[in-house]
Symmetry: C2
Subunit: 311 residues, 2 copies
Amino acid sequence: MHRAAASSICTVLALGAAPGLVGQAAAAEPAARDKPPISAEVLESAQPSDWRRPDPANTLYLDLPAGRVIIELAPRFAPEHVANIKAMVREKFFDGLPIGRVQDNYVTQWGDMDEIRKSEAAKRQLPGETAIAWSPSLPIVKLPDADGYAAQTGWLDGFPIGVEPTPPAQVWMTHCYGIVGVGRNDWPDNGSGSELYAVIGQAPRHLDRNIVLVGRVIRGMELLSSLPRGSGALGFYTVDEKSRRTLIRSARLAGEVPAAERTNLEILRTDTPLFTRYVEARRNRHESWFVRPAGHIDVCNLAIPVRDIPR
Amino acid sequence: MHRAAASSICTVLALGAAPGLVGQAAAAEPAARDKPPISAEVLESAQPSDWRRPDPANTLYLDLPAGRVIIELAPRFAPEHVANIKAMVREKFFDGLPIGRVQDNYVTQWGDMDEIRKSEAAKRQLPGETAIAWSPSLPIVKLPDADGYAAQTGWLDGFPIGVEPTPPAQVWMTHCYGIVGVGRNDWPDNGSGSELYAVIGQAPRHLDRNIVLVGRVIRGMELLSSLPRGSGALGFYTVDEKSRRTLIRSARLAGEVPAAERTNLEILRTDTPLFTRYVEARRNRHESWFVRPAGHIDVCNLAIPVRDIPR
């Protein structure tokens, strides 16, 4: 809600935007060096080792007519569902299937909505991978801030998580904006992966541990979030709205497309001292626009920076 | 992430949808009466007095080519800003102005983005109405669930709030999905109301008490949230993207349009025992789809039901 007229000031608030402007401001105001850094300054100070490249074998390209949605899959959290999705992708299972549900402030869902396809490679029955066992040896990055839905929150493998160290001692991905899950009918059906959804609104954390999550959109969320909403129950497009459906051109693993067709991205690592400083800069905002730092940050309010890397 | 095939089951999860189906399920399963009610059942049991009609003098119609966005203004929270906005609306200030900023997972912003208009009636300087004084006599409905950003949360006049009963003893609207605020430059400029924004993503609660909030979208959010994102800094449309801007046909107060042109809505009251039951049904979901109730609800995860009323 910065006003347009203030764009020269405001750009420093955009993730990674206009580092030159930040530098100029710092140079013009040497006394300001005593202030805590803002997040753009923290990012500017990142070393190459503070970034990671997602594994091409677990990076899914969902190519739509309007562009590419890139999903980082999370095999640690749902190994069998991720394996199933990858098996279907190799069969070109998703090619030509629709985005058939867009429910405002909730989810965009795509895949075999009409149950017209059959995968040869995918399993029909999978375990209910809604959480993994907690262990003190898991490389969990804790967020110290209190959370209402989980005893603890933080990150694991770069994905936002809830943690319950006491029995049942579980770790699970949290339903933040951009998280990708597996559509299902009533339990114990937990879905095969033939229908997937991404969160496009306020984090529906009440779904945590109720459904299998398989990854996170790291690029192209706007292609899923700006689609016309369906007017049927739960945001499904009605029969009359079939023409509003977006059809998936292709779904491919990054590792299986030619190098020239890949989108080469880096994601800020969450297991570094720099990330801790980044979180603090987002928890307490000291950009000139702000008058009151929040003193708190929710795990779903921390968008993890992603950037292009040169080919 | 219900699958499409399960739509007969899933409809009960939609707010206020298909009450007939809920009734049938209850009739078929008399033993289920011992289970806590689900939110659709709570809504079904609502009496006329559990609903309220927004004040036409504080209901703003933002008519876009694609339809009507309806905003309930909140004069208690920002009386001078609301008065300013209403003064501008009476001047037809917003008619023809653009939606000039759509930042994914953040805000949609409209109004005098190009600073081409001048209001005769509106004040240029207003007090910084980011919070009101807390008082024990305020008719606050408390949400008992813990919150990281505020000592307490709840509702006041039907708007979601944060509460700090200790000094500085304040109450403020929380930045939930659909909340409407006033664009500003750097403080102490707090904006005149000539540019407004609505939250279209994860609740940016770090903005609470940093900016003036004036109301909430009660109908038509999808018209703001499904717009193409701007590719400029902070989601502003670039010069090349001016053609993507949506132009506001008109902005009018409901009380000032002919009765036949009004959209007649009712909003579920938040200050009733029924609402408390509704919150509990959303805090712990017992619909058949769920396997694990959350045991918690965030003030921004509680969408307050709105329904059409017959003319």
